[in-house]
């Protein structure tokens, strides 16, 4: 991004928005202190063992594509040209366990089941002088 507007998340509590744009965003999750299961989004009670001892933590935004699609309709809530002709969406398996659904960067041909992806923040619109950002995933080679 050429400008340097302050960045705010499309919705707080799902991913980090580092002050330094060069720092990669992280995914906000819950980890169960009893059984070790991770959850996204964060939650108070463990969905696996129902322990109440969950802790909020973050994990790196990277994983593999479980499934994907390309939507031929503009991204809701976005004013950016790049989303007007549609956008990719992926179900991403994080190595810690959670499966999350978020936009993918690129066209249909760039996606494949099992492909590695890394997260980045992208502005979808401006609001009160801020860039409203959404976490999305970009395919990486290898």
């Amino acid at each position: 991004m050429a400008d340097s507007k302050p960045r705010i998340p499309a919705k707080p509590g799902y991913f980090t928005v580092p002050d330094d744009p060069a720092t990669p965003p992280e995914v906000i999750v819950s980890r169960c202190q009893d059984c070790g299961e991770y959850f996204f989004p964060k939650r108070l009670v463990c969905g696996k063992c129902m322990s109440r001892k969950t802790e909020e933590t973050t994990v790196a935004a990277r994983g593999t594509i479980y499934s994907y699609t390309f939507v031929h309709i503009p991204l809701f809530g976005s004013t950016k040209i790049e989303y007007q002709e549609g956008y990719g969406v992926g179900q991403i398996d994080l190595p810690e366990g959670p499966r999350i659904q978020l936009p993918l960067v690129g066209k249909q041909e760039a996606f494949a089941v099992g492909k590695r992806v890394v997260g980045e923040l992208a502005a979808i619109r401006e609001q009160d002088g801020n860039d409203v950002v959404l976490l999305r995933f970009k395919p990486v080679e290898g």
Binding site: K11, F40, P41, V71, H72
Partner: protein, 378 residues
Amino acid sequence: MEKVAVAGVGMKRFGFYPDTSVHDLACAAALAALDDAGLTFADIDAVYVGHIFMPVMTGVRAIKEIGLTGVPIQRIENASATGSACLREAYLAISGGHYDKVLVVGLDKMTEVMGQTPSAPALEDSILPAAFFAMWATRRMHERGTTREHLAKIAAKNWNNGALNPMSQRQPTTTVTVEGVLKAGMVSWPLTKMMACPIGDGAAAAVVTRESTAKKLANGRPVVRVLASHLGSEKYERGHLFMGPVVGPAQMSRDAAKDLWEQSGIGPEDVDLVQVHDAFVIEELEYYELLGFCKEGEAEACIERGDFEPGGRVPFSTDGGLIARGHPGGPTGLAQIWETVHQLRGTAGKRQVENARIGLCHMMGGGSVCIAHLLGRE
């Protein structure tokens, strides 16, 4: 436990009704169901009314348009499975001995609530709901070699079934082909517009009674019993999706079918026709397997053989399904009951399944609940 039957059904064809209030839509369906049962509103012991989208008290106010008799009225909501949930509550109340004659009504006007979503999107709200179903299809294609032609064949079947149903929202005047479905505009790869259900308005209703009461009202028609009723929610397993409008874990539908067989003592080989939550074609494909109508991995071969087409082994979505008959929300589950009751009575006209005795109705609600019923002709 009292045995339970569906004594009457009524429906307002799903579609677009800009000049008709949702109350009038509900009235039309409810009065049709009362007439079909041979009852009046004064006979009714309790009402369950369901809607997803309309404002608070819409359903209760709609019932007031039919009559004010002091009857207990309860609003029910369980996403797409709302109408099915109304039937289930009636089933539980009657089988538990609390009521004899219960009116269930589903209503919604999606066209009145479109565009009323919050302007500031939440995280997953920025994504078109169809994308979540499309990803189920992409994964299936990866695992099983499913083609877009398989998906298109299901869509064409349901559109063409809709042409035979006077209550279907979509009634194509010429035969819908696989090529036509594939050529329709892409919504979310691999799903085209013709592989998805439409939005719409409408209402559907049923009168549910003790079997003994239904026999008195039958007037020569076969009595249609509720043989089993299931409601389940999600179980956690690794890979569970907690975000957004999702399709829900496949296990919910497997569990639903297993419960129906256990309650009724019959199996999928005894079922003559099936209605499912085919909001998108990939769902119907998956439910062939998950409900036990073919083995895992065999859905594609069954589609190629026409097992679930009219005249096939077990016809699915005989009224056009959500794809053609429509899916306004609250009434959808009761439209499945309307169709199944007509099929079991032998009054389904051009789409009649020959000698139909047992029908299964299955709905998902927001990917988070699954409701299923088994109906049988005595």
